[in-house]
Symmetry: C4
């Protein structure tokens, strides 16, 4: 069995989604990539998290060819692979139907940056894609789900905005590693929940100032980060 | 004791409702049918889930005659039996007063298909029945609850839309087996929760396109299913 | 130590509030009465539920005199005692600040009967008291809290409507026993939650018909009850 | 290692935030002060609660100099210190991004006193600060967060109103001890949740009368307190 370390990281990223209440039954999947070898480990399709093992994970290359594994990969594998190809800086991808983020995705609305919890992790709104056209749905649906995400990020840095809402569908999140992707998916759900409460209390809530956004983002990220125990963590 | 396998499946379907937080106290019931013998195993009325055993389950035939069991069957048994008679393709029925689905039922509103989570399991909106008339309530209430459900499904395939909201009451769900019925009841509650969040974020949220509805439904169901490890699961 | 059975029932009623998530810290209290002897066992004030024992419970007579116990009784003891004097049919009283029922109480609105879950336990709306006057607050606050509840029930049967919302405050519930009072407090919170969801989905939701209200109430209560294993339970 | 008692109290206050569901990952921090020695124990920045020990806590003086500890203190340490300097009556400070209180903070709205749960602990609304100016964000952000809190409390007693919402950010709470600060943070979140429900049920809900506010506050605080087992607790 190849890539044991990567498999263990990806397994733990999948289980973190369960621990944090982001998945019902099998509604979600996490993957991670070994950039040097160009290989991705991803959750198999429709397998219960409770009995998921490192051996169950499927290894595919960036073209989607299965190199190791007897199970089918997640039905969303083509979306994951497109994101790895389009966003060279990322090392992990997570997809969930988590409750609040999916509420925003179904409403077709980006999550405005209403506060510093959001600004700590997302440099600006959590964007929403355009809906897929009938042709895109028909032709190669999961691939085209990745296409509309990549199109939305044409002018965005995927590490500064590590997640997106697919319209009428649900969130994808990513990060430098599979663990980071899971962490960002959890934070995205939390930010979606806070924003839901905010708009219900006061629909016309003002978003944070651009200065406050930058301040909080830079406290946690980049050369001037002051949060935590290691610079730039 | 007859039908041990069926009893065990029905017991587990009842307990799944507890594990997933769909029932408070004794507010819910699951049943399953042995189609060859025409016998139904159903939860007894008002018995705590914590002490429910396979022996407690009540065996009735499709006319409602009790064939095995010393306890009264669920007070909703006539609704279950009517559904088994009207929908020959189903093998299990579940009734709950789960929180969000009941919110929609009490509002008298069908749950629109706002996203792919919904489309994965329900081929279109989750319909709502008309209210029962005073005469229907008076004459044979539980039987007539089944009548208004069956009337609502006159032009619907119960396996393509495996659940319904009874107006002013609560949801019923069903499936090919008792386990499938419980699973669909859990998904129905999740879909009701997502739709609640969606309408509060954006009341006029657009529903999914008919093409996206079909695509997601077919990914999980029928000859072209690609989800999971077995075709057509 | 007197009244061990009553003490054990009252202790368990208090703990049921914790098990069902109705209390934060010490925000709540349950009591029970021995009608033959005219003695009430009630939770002491401000004692953590985790370390509450039968010995900690305080025994008072209906005039409020402490007969057994070294701790102060709940600060709401005068409200409990007034309810026992005004409602001779009840055997237990519970007060909580549970999340959804308190939301309705703070809004100063009765909970309309939107569905059969409600109709199963409350024969009509869960009423709300008028606010206390400044004089009532000043003079004998906890006693007068009972006075406004009793005034609201002048034309209601407390066993048919086993709970109330005190305006700007929170719910009280009661029952034939301390266990029944705790059960009704849990159901009241559930009904308040369902109604909250219902009004947010459709503000102008219709309440149940008087016929459906009677049908569901009578399925669970009185000589024609068909729910559960014992008639009239 | 100095100040073992204070360290243990501060550690437990931090863990209480976890037990009560107020923190996700490392989003929160608690501190406590030894007034005689002028020393503060505070959570280190970005350390998981699960592996937090008394040794990890950082000891700083009121000017912010680190006297003991190898880890960086919480990035919010300057806010804590300013509050200790400005509010001589307090002995503990807590900062969280708890779900409902942060919803109100992001909406930029004070939490009105809608009921007695609130009045029991906060003598009037939970106030909200003004937003920080761009200059305040740029110059010394965490210090200036304390400045806008102190400015908002110019005419308020911090022990009578033991918490605040920082606009676009999240709540701070405090108390006579670190344990009291954590307790007040938990109650603030509960009050924020009740108020959220109240405004959704009835946007124009009336707040409690000034007499009821005083009555409930005085039941739990000051020389006339009647709640609990010890006067004036």
């Amino acid at each position: 069995m190849q890539l044991r370390d990567l498999r263990e990281q990806v397994l733990d990223a999948n289980l973190e989604l369960v621990r944090k209440g982001l998945v019902l039954y099998t509604f979600g999947n996490a993957s991670g990539i070994d950039r040097e070898r160009g290989l991705v480990a991803i959750k198999p399709s429709g397998v219960d998290y409770e009995r998921l093992t490192v051996e169950d994970l499927v290894i595919v290359d960036l073209s989607g060819q299965i190199l190791e594994g007897t199970l089918n990969p997640s039905s969303d594998v083509k979306t994951h692979l497109l994101l790895y190809r389009e966003f060279p800086s990322i090392g992990g991808v997570v997809h969930t139907h988590s409750e609040f983020a999916t509420g925003w995705a179904q409403a077709g609305k980006a999550i405005p940056c209403y506060g510093t919890t959001h600004a700590d992790y997302f440099h600006g709104e959590v964007p929403v894609t355009r809906p897929l056209t009938d042709e895109e749905i028909e032709a190669d649906y999961e691939f085209n789900t990745g296409v509309v995400i990549a199109a939305r990020f044409k002018h965005l840095d995927p590490l500064a905005v590590p997640g997106v809402l697919v319209a009428n569908h649900a969130p994808f999140a990513w990060g430098k590693t599979a663990a980071g992707a899971a962490y960002n998916a959890v934070v995205l759900e939390y930010v979606a929940k806070l924003a839901f409460r905010t708009v219900l209390i006061k629909g016309e809530a003002a978003t944070v100032s651009s200065r406050l956004l930058r301040k909080h983002y830079e406290r946690k990220h980049g050369p001037k980060a002051t949060y935590g125990q290691k610079q730039g963590e």
